[in-house]
Amino acid sequence: MRLSLGPIQYFWPRDQVFAFYDDIATLPVDIVYLGETVCAKRRLLRLDDWLALAASLASAGKQVVLSTLTLIEADAELRQLRRVCEQDDWLVEANDFAALQILTSRQRPFVAGPFLNLYNAASLCVLQGMGLQRWVVPLELGRAALSDILAALDERPQTELFGFGHLPLAWSARCFAARAHGLPKDDCRFVCMDHPEGIPVHSQDGQRLFTINGIQTQSGAVHDLAQDIAHILSAGVDILRISPQARGTPETVRRFRAAIDAGETVAVGPEACNGYWHGGAGMDRLSS
């Protein structure tokens, strides 16, 4: 099973991004997804910067995939999207059907991101006919649903599972980070920069419930499937995705690599969740 590193979901300073990928180049991940997928206003790195990073990670032996914006509303965002989809050097992860439309009209292969909502084999088959190479399982699907889907497919695409990180649960046109700072979205002053792992949201009795990341709402708990590795290995998953955190990502990568190589589960922190994988509520901590 290969390990992938998902796109950075947060807004980090430019230097931090480059330093982060310098580290990644030396780590045992096989696939790296690059690009801004959350907020079109985050433009500290231009497409050329991402392409340069792609080249350098590829020369370090990584497969690079460019990942596209998830919620696309404005024309400027579509223009940006077109530039990503109209290059032929790198595979593209489509996170909206707009990307799929551009890629399929150019007869380019693609990775279907988790928000294309492919919940059954028949949907996968339709997209396979259009060039789907790999899909990321919808976050709320668990082991049983995945095994039903894979069993119903004659030809399996590469299957990638979100294995670690705060789960991107919801997308809105509204910016909740700006709201938390009492600012309008159009004058957000890039407050996301102050929160390299998002803004924690607690219930009134102190439970960490969500994480605000701009227009995205993430899980409060970190989804961590390290303790489920043995089952994941037998479930037909080809790639396990680690979502970058500002702290500890290299350790997470090594921990998962070691667990996969040993074919064994490893203990996870007491705050971690894994409910979706077991068919429950995402925030739950369940065991097989």
């Binding site: 999207l81 928000f115 919940y119 028949a122 809105s172 102190g206 419930l209």
Partner: protein, 332 residues
């Protein structure tokens, strides 16, 4: 411009038809529709057939919502829902799942397909995808776009556009929100429910009323404070040391003020939310919107929402503040 009204049950359907809806939308009583709430929807083929017949006899079109994402194990349920809707003479099926759209397009080429709001199509390329691949004729736009963006989309859209005019306001891009399944295990995408009633509990101690969803505290109300249904995105949570509606105030959507603009930009249909509401609600909302749309169509330049309409809709919103919602983007 067409008025599309909710029909969560036969009585609501009759109310909407009687008050002049151009079309009603409804669903089967199962997980194939995105409002799979207890006691709602049409329990059998016979009920659905009677509903469609009644509507058609009165000149009202019927759109059948089969708009959740089909689970693998029960995929046949979605397929059968499309086949039944088509056989019963539905005027359109509202869907979001690729396999459901594909099945309908292949097997029922005459059946009109509408892209559900759950499909999250917010731009012209996404609309082109559904139109070119499945022959989708109309799309319901997510409630996240500004009026300016709706206008830009209307100029280039390959399909008719339907927008929400009145009712509850989803602040997330529909079809891309898993908050409910994160906490309760059930979501709009998979089960057609959001913050399901079965997971709600209320307790009161020391004069404080507390709402919980699957054990998670969603809000606490002091005496005299108006308590609302514990929808996750409308909870009061602590952010940066402050207690607040972290995501959204509980408000509802009302676009009477911009109806003239929506008409001018060529919006094909106004949709009223509320399949979970009572027949009386559907009757009042349909009556007011019928008058408003007729007034707008008869003399678009002179269109102006009447105070009586606004008061009527405000009453239906149960005193909650009405707003232009995302179309005006006050939070921008």
């Amino acid at each position: 411009m067409e008025l599309v009204c909710p029909a969560g049950n036969p009585a609501s359907l009759r109310a909407a038809v009687a008050e002049g809806a151009d079309a009603v939308y409804l669903g089967f009583r199962d997980m194939t529709n995105a409002r799979h709430f207890t006691g709602l929807n049409f329990a059998s083929e016979q009920r659905m057939g009677e509903a469609i017949e009644h509507a058609h006899r009165n000149g009202t079109r019927v759109f059948v919502a089969i708009n959740t994402y089909a689970g693998q194990r029960h995929w046949q349920t979605w397929k059968r829902a499309v086949d039944r809707a088509a056989a019963l003479g539905a005027d359109a099926v509202i869907a979001a799942d690729i396999s459901v759209l594909d099945h309908a397009a292949r097997h029922w080429p005459e059946l009109a397909l509408h892209l559900s709001v759950q499909g999250s199509a917010t731009n012209v390329e996404a609309l082109r995808f559904y139109h070119e691949r499945f022959g989708v004729r109309r799309a319901v736009l997510p409630r996240v776009l500004s009026l300016q963006q709706v206008r830009a989309l209307a100029q280039r859209s390959p399909v008719e556009l339907e927008v929400f005019g009145f009712g509850s306001l989803c602040i997330m891009a529909e079809g891309r929100c898993l908050l409910s399944s994160y906490v309760t295990g059930q979501s709009p995408n998979t089960c057609g429910v959001c913050s399901p009633a079965g997971s709600v509990s209320w307790t009161e101690h020391d004069g404080v009323l507390e709402s919980r969803l699957a054990g998670v505290v969603i809000d606490r109300y002091r005496e005299g404070e108006k308590a609302g249904y514990p929808t996750l995105c409308k909870g009061r949570f602590e952010v940066g040391g402050e207690l607040r509606h972290a995501l959204e105030e509980p408000v509802s959507l009302n676009t009477l003020d911009i109806l003239g603009e929506l008409h001018a930009m060529g919006i094909a249909a106004i949709k009223l939310e509320g399949r979970q509401r009572s027949p009386a609600y559907v009757a009042s909302a349909t009556r007011i919107w019928r008058e408003a749309i007729d007034s707008c169509l008869s003399d678009p330049d002179a269109y102006h929402p009447l105070d009586g309409w606004q008061r009527g809709l405000a009453a239906l919103s149960e005193g909650a503040q009405t707003t232009l919602g995302a179309y005006a983007r006050p939070w921008r």
